[in-house]
């Protein structure tokens, strides 16, 4: 499975080892992990809840992985995204790309994250000391996705 949506945490080391297992043609592995920060837009975040659109989510992530494989000369790719209630310091998302040479691994990994930020149906709600708020989308994410 190239994509997983889960409430459980993930172990990047284990996932990297699994993704490249048996492929001796791999020379480069680029990995990205997104984590919950304890501050966002100058407010203290005590909890972050990830909502998603079951049914669409995995298909959207699979489309991103397929697009990365189509556009970049890579060997394999994996995306894991967590949903549910998370605390500061918790891991949110993992993207791993294996390739022969490092340039393609870096590009495909960043490409997948940029697309994920604008095309995968996840929404973050932050709990602050004085209430809750939905995280607003950043224009910078649209710009990042439009580079490719």
């Amino acid at each position: 499975m190239a994509v997983r949506v889960q409430t459980e945490d993930f172990d990047a080391g284990v996932e990297i080892a699994r993704l490249r297992a048996g492929d001796r043609g791999v020379g480069a592995i680029a990995t990205f992990i997104g984590t919950v920060r304890d501050v966002n837009d100058d407010a203290t975040v005590t909890e972050l809840t990830l909502e998603h659109y079951p049914g669409m989510t995995e298909a959207a992530l699979e489309a991103i992985v397929d697009e990365a494989k189509r556009r970049f000369d890579i060997r394999d790719a994996l995306v894991i995204h967590r949903v549910g209630a998370l605390a500061p310091g918790d891991q949110i998302v993992l993207v791993i790309v294996t390739s022969e040479h490092r340039g393609m691994a870096f590009d495909a990994c960043e490409f997948a994250m940029d697309l994920l930020k604008t095309r995968a149906p996840f929404w973050k709600k932050e709990r602050l000391p004085d209430g809750e708020r939905w995280v607003e989308a950043h224009a910078s994410d649209d710009e990042a996705a439009q580079r490719w």
């Binding site: 998302v93 095309r119 995968a120 929404w123 607003e136």
Partner: protein, 94 residues
């Protein structure tokens, strides 16, 4: 000669994140009667006419995104009988 049933389009609506809370609903069934092929925009127009949170959250200029049958779609996309149409704010995952 067209069958009169062909002008009735039944869809499943899904509301997510802030819109789910604003509408106090995770979704509903909706029937559209139209002589033309209905689009996502037709659905939004129908919902806006309800007033209240519907008209404010879906007002022109508000950032709203759509998916038809689990694929991102533009407002101009046509919808067919049995489609699932999701309406949600810009995504913020990752």
């Amino acid at each position: 000669m067209r069958d009169s049933v062909s002008t009735l389009v039944s869809i499943r609506l899904v509301y997510l994140a802030r819109l789910r809370e604003a509408f106090d609903s995770a979704g509903e069934a909706l029937e559209l009667t139209s002589e033309d092929a209905p689009t996502v925009a037709s659905v939004i127009d129908a919902l806006r006419r309800r007033g209240g949170a519907w008209s404010s959250e879906l007002a022109p200029g508000r950032a709203v995104r759509f998916a038809v049958n689990h694929r991102l779609a533009r407002a101009s996309e046509t919808i067919a009988n049995g489609d699932e149409v999701a309406i949600f704010p810009p995504v913020t995952g990752g």
